[in-house]
Amino acid sequence: MQTILQDFGLLAGFWMTIKLTFWSAIFSLVIGTFVAVMRLSPVGMLRQVGTAYVTLLRNTPLTLIILFCSIGIYGQLGIVLAGRDAPGGFIDTNNFRLAILGLSVYHAAFVCEAIRSGVNTIPIGQAEAARSIGLTFGQSLREIILPQAFRGAITPLGNTLIALTKNTTIAAAIGVAETALVMKNVAEFDPGLLWTAFGLIAAGFVLLTVPMGLLTSHFAHKLAVRR
């Protein structure tokens, strides 16, 4: 067990999982909200762009998206997300940030749909009232619609967060040193420890996701708009 935790870097792997989840959650929330606003807007062009974004991203496997980030954005467009002398090495830092980019744009599509489902929980009267007191689209969105939509969307947002946590394992496809890569290394270099590694990793993910689920249920209940 000591070997897996330290020599194979399982603890570091889980720390990487947490970092990937944290940053991707924030960025996907920002991008997802932006796309959701586009899909709700009165401008037909923006609505179509939003719909196209969700359709394209949701139907592409995350593995492909993350590979694209590596060979497309870094390899072809030459966009570098880390300094040449980044602490922790250029390649590792760059791949870590590319993985966050891939995870964020993919889950943003689900965040967008979650927020739209939250908008659906708002009674029509709220939007009508906002319009009738003369709020513009932007104002009613900011003051009336989005605050209630977020509160109504906590359950699907929480489910997206849990899925995101588990999907960070796919960052292993571009060599980010998280739990799936640790698992692979254990299996290849010390197959006798396979069961232990699997047990520890599974337990780790349960430990990460169960509190998320409990908090989601708690806040979904507590923050629900009483109607």
Binding site: T55, N59, T63, Q76, P156, T169, A180, F205
Partner: protein, 301 residues
Amino acid sequence: MSAKTNVLFDLPGPKARSRHRLLAVVGAVVLLALLAWVLVRMDDKGQLDPDKWLRVVSGEAWRYYFVPGLRSTLVAAALAIIISMGLALGLAMARMSDNAVLRWAATLFVEFFRGVPVLIMMLFAFYFLVMMGWFPSDVNPLIGTVTGLVAYNSSVLAEVIRNGVASLPAGQREAGLSIGLSPSQTRRMILVPQSLTAMMPSLVSQVIVITKDSALGYMILYPELVTSARRLGSWAGAPFQAYVIAAVIFIIVNYGIDRLARWVETLQRRRGRSAGPIADAEDVPMVGAGVRGTVNAPAGG
């Protein structure tokens, strides 16, 4: 949705219309500028070279890479769907059973495998099979991929079925019991069949999740579409282009399945065949609510 969205803003007057036009133009310009920039950057690297694109859509590329790759993807997905469905039925029945041991075993299985990432399960199954050497080594990737997919999706589908049963009107169960069926007969003959019909759209959309997740087989060298694209990329010297084509194939296949799911849904609504409203996975309280993967949760893949 559309009726709801339209309440968010008034019918635009002349001023608003011109403002919207302006916004649309600005949006289009930004998008086009981005696209142009990407194309220029790619051209600088020689990625717009028609030769490279022709090589990845040539007859050989299809014959030796994309078609076999797509076939492997579909084989893994189909196997996973069929096995998951069967296992999910069993798990759902066991979770609703009157036998406490059975119920707890099924609950443990479902909650555990919903919490473990599909990729971890796949890696474990694959290396376990390699270590045991039960099968010829060329089928290990397929079995590993399918095992990973089945473990997660059968658990999710079992919950879908169970929630479907919970959303049926109580009268269905009562009627079954009152004509003398045993509780398990009632579940088997009355409740679960109706739940399956009601959950049909969710079941079909789970098929998309499975198809996408089968791309994880890439990590254990199962020769599915992404793996084939990588091999084609190095054969043709055009990795970027090969992945683009693979992504397009995935989008078309999944978009098709998505359309199918919606069509099934409207068909059912028109016929009024479903016995109750289609339940969301959120509606039913569950043990260990934490590791919950509803059908709406994003898949990996």
